[in-house]
Amino acid sequence: MADALFLAISVLTIGSAIAALEMRSLVYGSIALMGTLGGVAGFYVMLDSPFVAMFQLAVYVGSIAVLILFTVMLVKRELIFKKIEDPKRKFAGIGLMLIVILALGAIIMDSGIKTISTDSDPVDFREIGGDFLVYYWPALILMALILAGSVMGALVLARREDTIENEQ
């Protein structure tokens, strides 16, 4: 059952990733990208970490994909992109992808991933939260400050003087 699910999610993820690259329509390409990100969330669920899976869905599918869709819809495709049909480039791309995948696979297989036991209990997300608040609190506070600073910066940049004067 788990193997069938793993295969199904793998096919979904890789297939929609290829579709995202190959689709001529940008909107359908971004939908396929959503499929890829959702498939990664499915892998997280299979790895007993629903916390990360839900964040993957909420952040990547819910926000990043919406951002991409929003950008794509406001752009006229014909004016920017020219079709380049060149079989040499295509084969070169596929070959490069195969080399990269083989290299990554070799590295991962050489690492200690085989020695990890697979039937250990999943880590509770409450423990991860506790670790963040106890051991890694300076990093957490630094990240919070950077995020707050970037949000404030965005608000300042987006601030329009004329509308505020109109309201007064």
């Binding site: 629903p50 916390f51 964040f55 909420a58 599918v61 819910g62 919406v66 997300f125």
Partner: protein, 458 residues
């Protein structure tokens, strides 16, 4: 004089009936029965009284008066019932339908009109059924230059996402929820994130200017109000230390969180109105500016599906407000408590001399308990209730509170005008986010002052 069927002939009528019966029988025999048998092969069958409940046995017991109650109980405690009927889709659709009708009548009363009046003798009570029949029987028109796959898929996806949201809502004590997740609240955030995608895709696929303007507005509104929505609920998570919605409800057995976090409740209610596209935030559907916003090109049952999805979403949001701030199903139990001996040993009936001659067992009392041989008694204070009693009382409290919240969601539609887009974004990005941070600081203050939380006073 108009006649409904001017060329009516009894022979054609009977032929039509026989034709239909023939085709139905043929299709059921060739496809339906094999499909049922294949499904039964994979479906987990319940065990009643030590006997595996096969389909044949179920049909037999259907006509056996002593086995009907266990049969119904086995049905009620099956996963299919949970998904399709009670805490899941059917229950939510009933509340959504009631919401549509009440909204129309209530707005009419607020604006000194009568509202739906003719369908059904009493206050137009059948108007909803009439509208549903109309929507089903109308033609579905697809715009010629629409992107057809996306345009067809959008209403279905919308209803599906709303149903996924409904599936996360716990309704009654004892695990009456379709999907009881440890990360329930995060799952709610993830599901809410899908609505803007579906909205903008359907708006784009219609290939028409009004839906596109409405879709862009909806995207602005939903994306910018999602942040205060998430932040306003974090205070409760800090106080309870859990993301499981059932545990959040059980943490409010003595007082609801709205007492400590009224600011969070107000922020969540406002963002809820914006996410549901209701007045005063109904810019995506502004009917006086852009026809019907992103719903303009939908017709027939596709429009019906989108409306069904949006009312399911309304119910789910109201239920989420009840669960997080108003204490969900907690409340005084309506039923009188039962003596334990009354259930476990029965009622002794004396004869004229006072000697007990027979004992009346009352298996009907804990009607909704799972197994009639194991009385599930639960202590609440000093009183003892069966889990069936707690279930009924919890559902009544939950529905009462949810209906109250839905009333307050509907109310602004009769009162407020629509606000401008820049004012909406200003409210979302400046005021609500600031207020939700104030709410988080209140929660942190309560925890660190030792009032609530682990080792707190309360």
């Amino acid at each position: 004089m108009s006649v409904i069927a001017p060329k009516f002939r009894l022979g054609y009528f009977l032929k039509g009936i026989f034709d239909n019966a023939f085709w139905i029988l043929t299709i059921v025999t060739l496809a339906g029965i094999p499909a049922i048998q294949i499904a039964l092969f994979f479906a987990p069958l319940p065990v009643i009284d030590g006997q595996l409940l096969t389909a044949f046995l179920a049909f037999t017991w259907l006509f056996n008066p002593t086995m009907q109650v266990p049969l119904i109980k086995a049905l009620i405690y099956s996963d299919l019932f949970r998904i399709a009927a009670f805490p899941g889709f059917g229950f939510a659709v009933l509340i959504a339908a009631a919401t549509i009708f009440v909204e129309r009548k209530m707005l009419a009363k607020l604006q000194l009109r009568v509202g739906p009046f003719y369908c059904g003798k009493i206050e137009g009570i059948l108007q909803l059924a009439g509208d549903g029949l109309k929507l089903i029987s109308k033609e579905i028109i697809i715009p010629a230059k629409a992107d057809k796959p996306l345009f067809w898929a959008a209403p279905v996806l919308f209803v599906g996402t709303a149903a996924a949201f409904v599936a996360l809502i716990p309704v009654a004590p004892g695990g009456w929820v379709v999907a009881d997740l440890d990360v329930g609240l995060l799952a709610v955030f993830a599901v809410i994130g899908f609505f803007p995608i579906i909205t903008i895709l359907s708006a784009w696929s219609a290939n028409s200017k009004f839906p596109f303007i409405g879709g862009i507005r909806a995207l602005h509104q939903m994306v910018s109000f999602e942040i205060p929505l998430i932040l306003s609920l974090l205070g409760v998570v800090i106080l309870t230390g859990t993301l499981n919605l059932s545990e959040i409800v059980e943490s409010q057995s003595s007082f609801p969180w709205i007492i400590f976090m009224p600011i969070g409740a107000i922020v969540f209610f406002t963002t809820m109105l914006a996410e549901l596209e209701r007045i005063p935030f109904d810019l995506p559907e502004a009917e006086s500016e852009i026809v019907a916003g992103w719903l303009t090109e939908f017709s027939g049952m596709m429009y019906g599906l989108v409306q069904l999805g949006s009312y399911l979403k309304l119910y789910a949001f109201a239920a989420l407000f009840v669960i997080i701030f108003l204490g969900g199903w907690t409340g005084p139990v309506f039923w009188p408590p039962l003596e334990t001996e009354l259930i476990t040993e029965g009622i002794p009936i004396p004869n004229y001399a006072g000697d007990p001659i027979l004992t009346v067992n009352t298996p009907g009392l804990p009607l909704l308990d799972k197994d009639p041989n194991e009385w599930v008694l639960q202590q609440q204070g000093e009183l003892q209730y069966t889990s069936g009693q707690l279930l009924v009382s919890g559902v009544i409290w939950f529905v009462l509170k949810t209906v109250g919240v839905i009333f307050f969601i509907l109310l602004p539609r009769g009162v407020f005008p629509r606000i401008r887009l820049d004012m909406l974004l200003h409210i979302g990005w400046y005021k609500l986010i600031g207020l939700s941070f104030v709410n988080i600081f209140i929660a942190l203050g309560l925890v660190y002052a030792g009032v609530i939380g682990p080792g707190g006073i309360l």
